[in-house]
């Protein structure tokens, strides 16, 4: 089965066909929701609600489009709606990663420092920076995904990086520079 077949079957009233879409995209969606909300439990709730919203809206889905970018719009609306409701103080621990995957290349301390710096950004800044650097989206793709003009993406990305640099502090950047040059 592929996305188009699953969506067609969902529209015909086959609820089980929706399982394919949920199982295919749940991890990716959770990763994106965590990057916006910076909270594990809220991300889980947001993704569930977004899938239910998407199921309801499948009738309006344009088959010429890809499913995930369309679903992402629903997901981010859910996340920002949730953020308007409440605020939490986020604690990031070494062994339980929130946004960044643990990797052999980076020490847990460095990953944690970047996670802390990311959590210090606003949700919109965090979303933009992670879509750019972790998903590798181009400015045009970012503009389409976030429904913003390309020039706005360019300047917001600059200011988000500026804030991230301030949060990271010069020591980690110097360390990164040394690692790159070694």
């Amino acid at each position: 089965m592929d996305d188009a077949v699953a969506i067609k079957r969902c529209k015909a009233g086959e609820r089980d066909a929706f399982r394919y879409l949920v199982e295919r995209y749940q991890s990716e969606a959770l990763g994106h929701a965590r990057a916006i909300l910076a909270d594990r439990e809220d991300a889980l709730d947001a993704v569930q609600e977004a899938f239910l919203d998407a199921y309801q809206a499948l009738g309006r889905f344009d088959a010429a489009r890809q499913f995930y970018p369309w679903f992402y719009t629903i997901l981010r609306n859910r996340c920002f709606k949730m953020l308007r409701g409440h605020r939490k103080n986020v604690e990031v621990s070494l062994d339980d990663a929130l946004i960044l995957a643990p990797s052999g290349e980076v020490s847990p301390e460095d990953r944690l420092a970047l996670e802390h710096a990311l959590v210090g950004l606003s949700p919109a800044e965090r979303e933009l920076v992670t879509l750019k650097h972790l998903d590798g989206l181009s400015y045009d793709e970012l503009a389409e995904r976030l429904e913003l003009p390309r020039g706005t993406v360019m300047s917001r990305l600059f200011y988000a990086r500026k804030r991230l640099r301030e949060k990271l502090g010069s020591s980690l950047i110097r360390k990164a520079k040394d690692t790159i040059h070694d």
Binding site: L44, L52, I99, E105, H133, G151, M154, F158
Partner: protein, 144 residues
Amino acid sequence: MTDINCESVRVAAMALADGEDSPLGREEVQMHLRNCELCRAEIEPMRTMNELWSSHERLRPEANLWPSIYERLGESAPPFSWRVLLLFGAPLFGYKVLLLVFQAPPSLWSKLVPVILAIAVFRYLKANPFKINCELTLRGELSS
């Protein structure tokens, strides 16, 4: 002609570092950076920070959301398609309109035709002449 100031050069420099087009040309940006120490001090750590990301990946947490979503799908209605409504609704509506048109008594036509003509005039004028008259009357300009 584009205004060159430090802020626009910095934004453009980062766009160029990302391999993207920017409102300022590469040479223009490089020339400014050569002469502006403040901009170099701002841009250099940001470029280094960009390289820092290459060793990081997004976390994709394992999850099994389907059981709880499936449970709640039962509570919600199946996806609603406007196309289905249009497919059945439009012919029915058209049929009803045709029936009304052919069965309508002449008295109805005598009322409908002026209304249709009035709508056509409003569309042509792109304004409601009665509304304009009301405003003029309220301001006392029409009577004078």
